[in-house]
Amino acid sequence: MLNVLFAGLIASGCIILVNLLLTLRLVQWLRSLENLQKQQKENETLPELAVNTSAPGFTAKTLAGKWTRLSDYAGRSIVLIFVSPHCGHCRQKMPELITLDMRAQEQAGVKFVLVSDSSATETYAWVESIRIEDKVEVTLPMLIAPRPSELLKAYNPRGLTPYYCFINGQGIVQARGPLGMGEWLRLQREWEGLQARSISHLFT
């Protein structure tokens, strides 16, 4: 009789436990959404990263699962390009960025590094869809910084993807802003111009 009572207690307890776990999962999800919204509002009011200051250090995983730090690029100029799988313009710009990366790397030793604001799974699906549907192989390294990550907070692209941050070999921020505007256009011309100069040099 007592065993039946214990069995009943355990069974009903298990049912309540499952409900409790599901409720807590829902609470966690709502709380993280709320944090995300709060973070976005905070970022909108925060100023952009200051030019000619040290770039904030970061640690992020690549799409291949390898941990990367800013110090891994020490002595080398890099351009962090903040992208999002939810941003159509980022997808449109991808072929142009891959070509420009090759030019900038060959001529000025500048390496492009993409930073995704979504999870590795979502980013991987996005990269695959670009490969299959657009026939574009994303060869640039991709860092995963799902919102609200410290990397996104430190570099504050303010949701304006694609957004770039040009860091020189000494780790100093040289320029930043939305891609395709202002200083980016000058840099783009410079990298493309450098290539034109080097080609003309070959013929003279």
């Binding site: 007592l2 065993n3 009572l5 214990f6 069995a7 207690l9 355990i10 307890g13 298990c14 436990l17 409790l20 776990l21 807590l24 609470v27 966690q28 709502l30 709380r31 993280s32 959404l33 709320e34 944090n35 919204q37 640690t59 995983k61 941990w67 609200p148």
Partner: protein
Amino acid sequence: MLVVCILAFCRVAIALLFALAFAGKIRDIRAFQEAVVDFRLLPSNWSRKLAVVFLAMEFLACAWVVSGLLLLAGFLLATGLLMLFSAGLLTVIRRRMKITCNCFGWTDRRVSGYDLVRNAVLILCSLSGAWASVTASQNLTMGEFGVIALIAVYFVVLMTNLANIVETLRRPFYAFLDQ
């Protein structure tokens, strides 16, 4: 009888807690190592090695408490680890650092006073287990153990989600749901 019940409760609670912590961290050991580095208490390479030592200790504490072979040692190791973690968390709160705990695997929730309260309750539980392990002599029936184990599972679920539960009771999602 009460001492035996306390011992069973503490064994299940502490073993489950350390099993959860170990499983959450081992899934992404690099993230845990970076979380320990973020505490900025030791040089980076030391912190990474210490993270592995913590993991091994958590596993040992869980194994000793589950097996019952080194019950007292298991509870004391668990108490020591919880005290050490609490001291680390306290320094983070005092330095007003905004970092995540990653106590049970990756999370975006920052270290807060709730983590200290949770650890204080767990230390009390672990110490009670250590005391009960040297005084308890009887055995429980399967049914009795099942009920106590279930209560211990509830306790662990509530303790590991303490911050979310209290925050939800204090500040529901009205602002969020309005939008």
